[in-house]
């Protein structure tokens, strides 16, 4: 089977999710082609497992919002040669695929995170509480918008060391950038709610989260931000915390169909309501810190500490200062040794 993956390079760099998407597709298809936006021929070589790559030649970088019409038409033409077309659900390209699908009378199925059989895919709906098995009935190409959880297939790096690296064939498409949407202003980069470049919730390996027991947003930020910076973690919050204005709404987990899957998830002062637990179900390891011994979160946690969360945070920061972690990749690689 042949697959087409549409990727966008931001600042001429591909993110980890792009390579994970390609790894996910290798399970189902024998040959993978990539349509790469804003990327040059050198950068394409950094992706593994590709047969053919399409890149664009144009006078200025393609902005997916302005050039969406022309891009969608190119995609809808290209995709008819393939069996499957995949896109990352969180990216701007999801809408391009929807538009291209509408022009060829096909629906896009989104949120797919796993494949069970030849034509059976699983997706999560209803805030993570419901699993849906989907079976495509229309003729190929099947259009999928994929939202992967932490990598379940690690690329077999050991096996490919001795093999000859297959160099992808590159085809260049000319792209005309006249457009009807005029760009007025382009603001400075918005550095997230705390003014710092913390990793995104859906991509981070470690996530720490707080509940509404922190009280005020000052308190929330004062305690969780230093720990997050030390661990290189993303910060999350429960719906209770967002509603009582402890945390900004972008950090909400659960209750807004935000399902995350970090390798390590630490919950401070969270009792664990249903929708929140549905959002963190796919985390690999869960640590819960709560003074209430009967909290519901302890049913889904791997490790638990029943002491005051402020003391726990201070002890954790102290430990991290004494035993410096070189970087999160190093600490995260330790998780393979934990027996759950």
């Amino acid at each position: 089977m042949k697959a087409l993956i549409i990727l966008e390079a931001i600042n001429n760099r591909f993110s980890l999710t792009d390579q994970r998407l390609i790894d996910f597709t290798t399970v189902m298809c024998s040959s993978i082609d990539v349509l790469a936006i804003n990327c040059n021929a050198n950068r394409i070589m950094s992706l593994n497992w590709i047969d053919k790559a399409f890149i664009f030649a144009c006078t200025r970088p393609i902005n997916v919002l302005i050039d969406s019409y022309r891009l969608s038409l190119i995609v809808s033409g290209l995709m008819l040669k393939y069996d499957m077309v995949l896109v990352d659900n969180n990216s701007n390209l999801h809408h391009i695929l929807c538009y291209a699908g509408a022009t060829t009378n096909r629906c896009v199925v989104s949120g797919i995170h796993d494949v069970i059989d030849y034509n059976v895919f699983t997706t999560l709906v209803h805030g993570g509480k419901m699993l849906k098995h989907i079976y495509f009935k229309y003729p190929k190409p099947w259009l999928m918008s994929v939202k992967l959880f932490y990598p379940t297939f690690v690329g077999n790096k050991n096996e490919t060391d001795g093999w000859l690296r297959v160099v992808p064939k590159i085809q260049i498409i000319n792209f005309n950038t006249d457009h009807c949407i005029k760009l007025l202003t382009y603001s400075r980069k918005d550095l997230g709610p705390y003014g710092l470049d913390l990793p995104k919730l859906t991509e981070a390996d470690i996530v720490i989260a707080g509940g509404k027991s922190f009280g005020t947003s000052e308190n929330f930020r004062r305690w969780l931000l230093p720990l997050a910076l030390k661990l290189g973690a993303a910060i999350g919050a429960t719906r209770g915390a967002v509603e009582s204005r402890c945390a900004p709404s972008e950090l909400q987990i659960g209750g807004n169909s935000q399902v995350i899957s970090p390798k390590l998830y630490i919950a401070f002062g969270i009792s664990g309501s249903d929708h929140h637990l549905a959002g963190i179900r796919y985390a690999k390891t869960i640590i819960a810190v709560n003074t209430d011994k009967d909290a519901q979160i302890f049913d889904t946690a791997n490790y638990a500490i029943t002491s005051d969360m402020y003391k726990v945070i201070t002890t954790m920061t102290g430990w991290l200062q004494n035993n410096t972690i070189r970087n999160t990749n190093f600490s995260v690689s330790k998780f393979k040794k934990i027996i759950i």
Binding site: S68, T103, L131, R281, T315
Partner: protein, 246 residues
Amino acid sequence: MKILITVKIIYDPKIELRQQNGMLCFENISRVINPIDEESVMAAVDFKNKNPGVKLSAVCIGDDVDEKIYKYVLAMGVDEAFLIRSVKHRVKDLDDLTIAKVLKKFIKINKYDLVLTGKSTFGNNTGWVGPALAALLGWHQLYYAYNLLKFTTNELTVQCHAYNRTITFVVKLPCVLVCNFTNFIKYIGLTGIILMLNTPMKTVFLPDLHIKPNSCVETMELLAIDKPRKCKFFDDVNSLMDIIFG
């Protein structure tokens, strides 16, 4: 300028789902207006208050049961509300493509200038209707719109939030916006409720498009079951950190 807002009525996301006889049981679960659509309505009402000469309408595809819930859209400040009812097929069986085609015909008949659709819904996380409408109608489209600024006869100024930046665009009407408004609080005043009781809902019957509602995908729904985890309690934080990072 005529604005149309698409509204979807979904099962209440706060309620727990139950499994019965191997199938998910959807009876007696309350339905609500999709929260993302509510925010779109509030944002459009806000825009209308700042710019007179804007006429708002809302459209929803639903059954009789949904009428009572959908009426609140009128209380929020929308001028007209249309409820499209289907005679032959149940609404649940209609797949996204048919919905998009029905909406396209509706828009063409009533000559709207701007269509606001939501980014996603709880039941189905795609947000497919917006781009599909743009494709079927041949209009311009913009995604991640989060603030409507001003408009002239032919153009609309919109702010979108993408790539971690706020970008301002001037787009020519007619146009479809896929919206992600977050800053608008739902507010229904007493005058709103009086208006709601006075204005009738306009019911439109699904045009006979000779489309069979065979969906393009077949689905089977299951409850997502937790993997049981056995919890180990710790008293000493340092020993826990040693185990995890050590």
